[in-house]
Subunit: 636 residues, 2 copies
Amino acid sequence: MAFHYLTNIALDKAREEYIALLQENGFAPKTEVIPVQHSCGRITAKAVYAAICAPHYPASAMDGIAITASQSFGAGETSPVTLEEGDFTIVDTGDPIPEGRDAVVMIEDVVKESSGRVKLFAPAAPWQHIRQIGEDICAGEMILASHCTISPAAIGSMLAGGVLEVEVIRPMLVGLIPTGDEIVAPTANPKAGDIIEFNSSIFSAMLKEWGAESISFPIVPDKKELLAAALAEATEKCDAVVLNAGSSAGREDFSASVIAQQGGVLYHGIAIRPGKPAILGYCGEKPILGVPGYPVSGIIVMEQLMKPLVDAWNCRTRQAPDYAEAILSRPVLSGLKYKEFVRVRMGRVGDKLMATPLNRGSGVVSSFMKADGILEIPQGLEGYEAGSKVSVRLLRPLTELENTLVAIGSHDPLLDELADMLHLADGSTWMSSSHVGSMGGIMAMRRGETHIAGVHLLDEADGSYNTAFIRRYFPKGGVRLVECVGRSQGLMLPKGNPLGISSIGDLTREGLRYVNRQKGSGTRILIDYLCKKQGIDTSKIYGYEREEFTHTSVAAQIVSGTADAGMGIYSAAKLYDLDFLPICMEQYDLLIPDYAWDTPMVRRLIEVLQSEEFKKRISALGGYELHNPGKVRERF
Amino acid sequence: MAFHYLTNIALDKAREEYIALLQENGFAPKTEVIPVQHSCGRITAKAVYAAICAPHYPASAMDGIAITASQSFGAGETSPVTLEEGDFTIVDTGDPIPEGRDAVVMIEDVVKESSGRVKLFAPAAPWQHIRQIGEDICAGEMILASHCTISPAAIGSMLAGGVLEVEVIRPMLVGLIPTGDEIVAPTANPKAGDIIEFNSSIFSAMLKEWGAESISFPIVPDKKELLAAALAEATEKCDAVVLNAGSSAGREDFSASVIAQQGGVLYHGIAIRPGKPAILGYCGEKPILGVPGYPVSGIIVMEQLMKPLVDAWNCRTRQAPDYAEAILSRPVLSGLKYKEFVRVRMGRVGDKLMATPLNRGSGVVSSFMKADGILEIPQGLEGYEAGSKVSVRLLRPLTELENTLVAIGSHDPLLDELADMLHLADGSTWMSSSHVGSMGGIMAMRRGETHIAGVHLLDEADGSYNTAFIRRYFPKGGVRLVECVGRSQGLMLPKGNPLGISSIGDLTREGLRYVNRQKGSGTRILIDYLCKKQGIDTSKIYGYEREEFTHTSVAAQIVSGTADAGMGIYSAAKLYDLDFLPICMEQYDLLIPDYAWDTPMVRRLIEVLQSEEFKKRISALGGYELHNPGKVRERF
């Protein structure tokens, strides 16, 4: 088998060849025999036949008497037949029919005489009111075909048919080997340079969802002989192995050569992004998959290459995933050489299902958690323009997306609290926020892409908030401005304010490192305005071009010591235990378009905004003033 | 709280009041703290916030050197800046940025000098090629809202955010108590009158699928004090209890009074069928559900009353089940007083999605296993006529139904083998058989309701098979007759033929008990024909009106000693180790309509029929002759 070093082979071709090669080498499911009671959700290894009939005896279907039908022949209204005590048996529903009897007469149709004899006024048909043997299941009948998933009712049917044990497919056992010198087990106190090893936990959970099991092996340092030993042990114990490389350059080559030594490598390098450096290795019939260290790359490689193997093991044809047509809210560029997997957030706004690309960094694992779908851009395409109709593979059911409140606009930690309260109030309502700044929110609303937008836009002319911008960008109206909170904006500073900063003017000081917010955000507009008003040359502020997208990420840079000051809201400073120099109170409101106003999601949002619980939770964050949240300030 | 004895209350009302009453009494989920690694699929008890930032340190995004950006200012093509050894640090991707540095220059852009110094020909922007702290997740940010199901990526996000343990909803623990004197643990050797206890296993599997756990308690005999003790123990240990009554009359009353003693009973009797005798009891905040003993009734009561409680415990809004519009192939009658739940088999034939009602006996657990959907007939409706368009709640995904070969017609055990081989050949193809006899199959095909029909119809005129009937019922053609097997028909007799039966003429003997097949089946037509030809008066054959629907069920009656003879095929006699008196070889063929001929399912069926494996498996059953199975005999 040729060893293709750092190939750029198409995914479909590579996958097909990989599975074919493994199957040629003997890749096939193993089976095990387990008690039927524990078999729910398992897959039959072969057809299951009933051992006994159900019912296994002729049973009375009524309360009454069991008789020999022929003794009742000739009975009529005027010519009753009398049965002696020995000629009938009293039976309850479910009781066995005694030998020699072949009919049941309902107790209502029996006239008892004091002598103990009974009178019948109608003949009984043979086998009337008797549950025949095998009415449910006949011995020898096939209960379940091969490769069927066992349902609760199938468990009942097997037990009724006298089948107590069943041969099922043993779940594929996948060994997970994390590698890398800088990799450490999950901790809340990592040192700088430590990379927290959470990929094994993600992969293990994915495998469980697919119907496989896993063993997580200890972290292997970057030593070839240690990796070789770990791989040998895992291959011995497991049906497949995943080598999860660290993220340093050249790490994958290292894995590839160790795999090649112990078996073979079909391909090293697949034309997908993220996930290119995947290694399609094997040891005999056992897959040895080399997975890139970045979590998003790893997840894509696992779902594109390991899931098909698990499905094959489980004798399941790959279920076609659910796709939905959606409209891209932003352009997406793609490399011609790769098939790209882009995580998107989705939401139904009006009659449009929108898809918004998420952060494409391979290291951003939270983007996979937040993703509602995956946009797959075929190899050879340069991408899609904003407004394109695209087909998105769904990661959440469409009904959930239909009930998701889409918030695009300015960031405030209160949005997360709102999302939580909305979902707590109604488990079928969700909220999805994208932080693109106040102006980004207004633009999204103009395009009909969002239900609400958080805005705090200062009108430089008169120091008023929001209304001037709304009039400018919605000249024909069609939106409502809903009161949310007043919040304290100011300079976040390291604890104790070591540099003694006392005003915005201090930001130009030599050696002071500022961290800014992105252009278009209300906070950026505010600092730009304040500097202009005070005649401060922003090109003199070191780091003024360093942009973060949220208040919390600005605070995070300061607390970690990579910046000395940043503009933001009090609640973010409080969260990070930073000093705070208040500059002004500003109005943070929610803009809601008419097209979303009458949706159940928005109605519920208004209820939550008006609740006492909202006031309580937001006040606890600090730095907020709440008057009449949820009240319509003005209709435009 | 009033105790309504044997009420007939509407399901929706009863359920709503039941949940409300329990919640008033304090019914609410309990939580537990578990390691994040084991939390996949679990439900968050409250919002989860990040403890640390991810990345938690500024990391190099490239291989290169880390510098202080300001030292590079002014560098250009013709005016390089030189950095001394102490002014830069070599970094790999993922390495931490040393204190005081704030930019990374890619190794490609660095010119190394032998002195150890480096030259830069372009200025570096502050923070270029550096993964900022919190790029993925910021400390204090909400990672997951309350009551969210934890995904693999969410596990990664929590671990990245320094969250090692998470508070989740502890699965509801349901105690299952089977009761009844005649109830026995699952066995392959039950005695007459024993009722095999498989309901606990079904319920336990259903609960697991819904996200709850269960304990199965030992079987409790019908003694009030024993039941009371078992109930007290289960209520103490569990969050809810299911009392599964035996099927004897009056058993439920017994349960109801024990529940009432220890707590209360809201309703006893719900207007549903099956499932009417359900008991909606409680002990404080704990539901005590009395479930009828018949398995189908029990399953319906569990899904209608216990599942909503599990969903409420798990803070899940009930997901709307999938429904599909289907056409009823047979009429269904319903009692006006009840909401009826009718199990149906389904299949897509041509452009019609067909629904065929299954055996409605409450004891027939296999009907629930075979069901593809549930037809819910509202209270107050008398039922539906054949051909009605009805909305069916799906138990299998629609895509599976689209790939199901529908077989309606004559029974032969080879159909089960065919189903198994079809599914083995292609995991996405299924087969569903209904045994309604040859004539039933022809009628279904005329109505466009089946893909294939097994037929073996003797033309009394000339002793030929099938063609005469096909010409009569399909005068315009439109069907193909496909060769299947020749099979040996004869009299199945108890082992050793104790009555010394040697011909059909013996069937009229005094004391001999015959068991027949249903009218319209090919086997019934055969015996009717044979008797007529030999001048045998069938009214003289005892049990001639006792009808079974399959060869195996006829054999089952004989082996169990409730019949002395029955007409059937050799393979059924062999399966039950019966004696067999061959009468004739007959042709069992498959009729396939033109409208189904070109479907992938039928094409695959023909491939299977023509395979060597088919010949091998069918020959092993015994009594078959195989010439050219899969060959089109004639096109009509």
